[in-house]
Symmetry: C2
Subunit: 359 residues, 2 copies
């Protein structure tokens, strides 16, 4: 039951994908170790320059000869108004002051054309570097990009939060669709559906998607162990993608404070916020989230808001100040452990096999 | 794997509990047919007078000799202010007019003492009628009530939406705890945790509760078939409680419009609202929900708001007007079917056994 179309397509031993977490979590060590332990490691390249991407890909290739993946954010048009930026800065200014940060007027506000250009260069780079698997978040690339990647035999994975989004992924030619349940930590991958309406729990989402697409489905959101893997397979998924479980691993590049916060959090301490980036994301509640909550809907779109909070996130992280960091986490922090990637994967597989035997 | 502590405690063949839906859905026929088909039928007695309760219990006993359950709402202190009632009526008045309804000034606004008195009489009635199983929503009864029920060997089931609530249920002496995931339709059962924070998907909620209590756990929310049953068991639950799946059955007393709406709905069409009753509940989005959404937080508490909307719910239902009905549904409406209870249960068990074989 653990060998199926997913393990075949991705050339992996176990149907376990390490979620491509952006922002420095997916170190070369983490990605390579997942692939060396029988799963699929993935680079969270959403915020990387093509140069950084190339460097990391080459380093990983030194550490593993197995398949690994890379994840990109699909650019989407966004509004930039000086009014919104101004009002966001008014909210962020007191926080910056608490951290001893000065707002730079020369902050480079992203423009859509540049974002799109970077994306196209990222695509070029991963083709040149022959990355075997590419996954996408926040949308589906153009048909031109899709066919170019297909010509190079790159396995393509899309992200969906609803049945409709999953169908669109299949139509566009994705080989695999990752369905993200409401339990998931970090950014919501929804790109067609409304944010509130696309918060579907995996118990509902997996079977309804499976009934409506023919490509293999991978489940993501709150899955931490062999129980979650086996449950996902019962619901019709062919594999799982896990973020938080890998984030607290010793090989992950997440800030130690972030790891500790997850290791001590309860299932009811995460909330959804768009204050960090302009896109909805799930993380452990803290001062930053609660202080900005009231103004959330007035904040600029992604990636503008993300740029405005960059200094806050960076400084609070280096000051080890949990109050203003983005403490992304899924809804299962009680199941998180500090351990090596290899041990985590071994435990998942042993547990999955035991559940199978006892049923 | 389908025989365990739950089937033993509840004297049932399969670990399937029909959720106790209030408001006329759980007809004697539905409840008895679930129990006759190997599951546990349950009366949703939350809104019933002790006399109505007694009648239904006696009727069910005519139709089945198997175990069945009854569910009560645990009363909680609530505020009644004339200001809130007035402002709620301002919002409800245009809706009443659309339905040709006149607001009666002599509407009987509930008082806590009366609600508590009714609850105590309900308890007395179910003891007298020797109902074998009693479950609770919205809280835990006093220790006096708990021990009285225990003295009469009634099996007690509590509802929890977080680990903390599950622990409280165990401490209070419940024999079983039903964990309600964010996927669930109808009223949220949370009683300690904040409403937004207690929206935990079952993939996260089940294993975290199972790790923290020793009483058997039953999973509720979005479960519709053998896939959901097997997934819940993999996650550590001993059984499932299903509402929406039974609501569309031929034996259910739900309005035909309500059944049709579920049978045609998608997973992303349900929303949370407190406009119908003053407590958060999940249902299919309609005009009533969207028109009252903005004022939601200012509406009176349960059960005051429930009383204020009674005429609207009743009239829209009899006029077959879906716009103003409470169309409760979980997040898996695509999996709903119109069929008999017996066929539904047979299909669940066959599917569960097949999944087990193929894994």
């Amino acid at each position: 039951m653990l060998n199926n179309k997913i393990t075949e397509l991705l050339h992996i031993q176990y149907p376990i994908i390490q979620a491509p977490m952006a922002g420095g979590v997916t170190t070369t060590k983490l990605v390579a170790e997942v692939s060396n332990s029988g799963g699929l490691g993935s680079i969270g390249a959403g915020y990387m320059t093509p140069i950084q991407m190339r460097e990391q890909i080459r380093e990983i290739k030194q550490l593993t000869s197995n398949f690994f993946g890379i994840n990109l954010f699909v650019p989407k048009e966004f509004d930039v108004t000086q009014d919104r930026i101004k009002s966001a800065n008014q909210i962020l200014q007191p926080i910056r002051e608490q951290l001893g940060l000065h707002y730079k007027d020369n902050l480079e506000i992203p423009e859509f054309n540049n974002v799109l250009e970077t994306f196209n260069e990222q695509i070029k780079t991963l083709i040149e570097e022959k990355v075997p698997v590419c996954s996408f978040t926040f949308g589906i690339p153009s048909s031109e990009v899709m066919s170019e990647l297909k010509q190079h035999n790159i396995i393509l994975m899309g992200t969906a939060t609803t049945v409709r989004e999953a169908i669109e992924n299949e139509k566009a030619g994705m080989d695999i669709v990752v369905v993200q349940g409401s339990e998931a930590g970090g950014h919501r991958g929804s790109f067609i559906s409304d944010d509130q309406e696309s918060l579907i729990g995996l118990m509902s989402l997996i079977p309804q998607v499976v009934d409506n697409v023919s490509i293999p489905v991978v489940a993501a959101g709150g899955i931490m162990d062999g129980r979650g893997l086996m449950a996902s397979i019962c619901l019709g998924a062919k594999g799982v993608q896990m973020g938080t479980a890998f984030l607290t691993c010793t090989e992950s590049g997440a800030n130690e404070i972030h790891k500790e916060e997850i290791l001590h959090a309860h299932e009811d301490q995460t909330v959804l916020t768009r204050s960090f980036s302009g896109k909805w994301a799930r993380g452990i509640n803290n001062k930053f989230i609660s202080e900005t909550q009231q103004s959330e809907s007035t904040l600029p779109d992604f990636p503008v808001q993300n740029t405005l909070t960059k200094g806050i996130r960076k400084t609070s992280s280096s000051q080890e100040n949990r109050d203003f960091m983005s403490l992304w986490s899924g809804q299962s922090p009680r199941l998180a452990e500090k351990q090596t990637v290899n041990l985590l994967i071994k435990k998942i597989i042993t547990e999955a096999k035991n559940i199978n035997k006892s049923n």
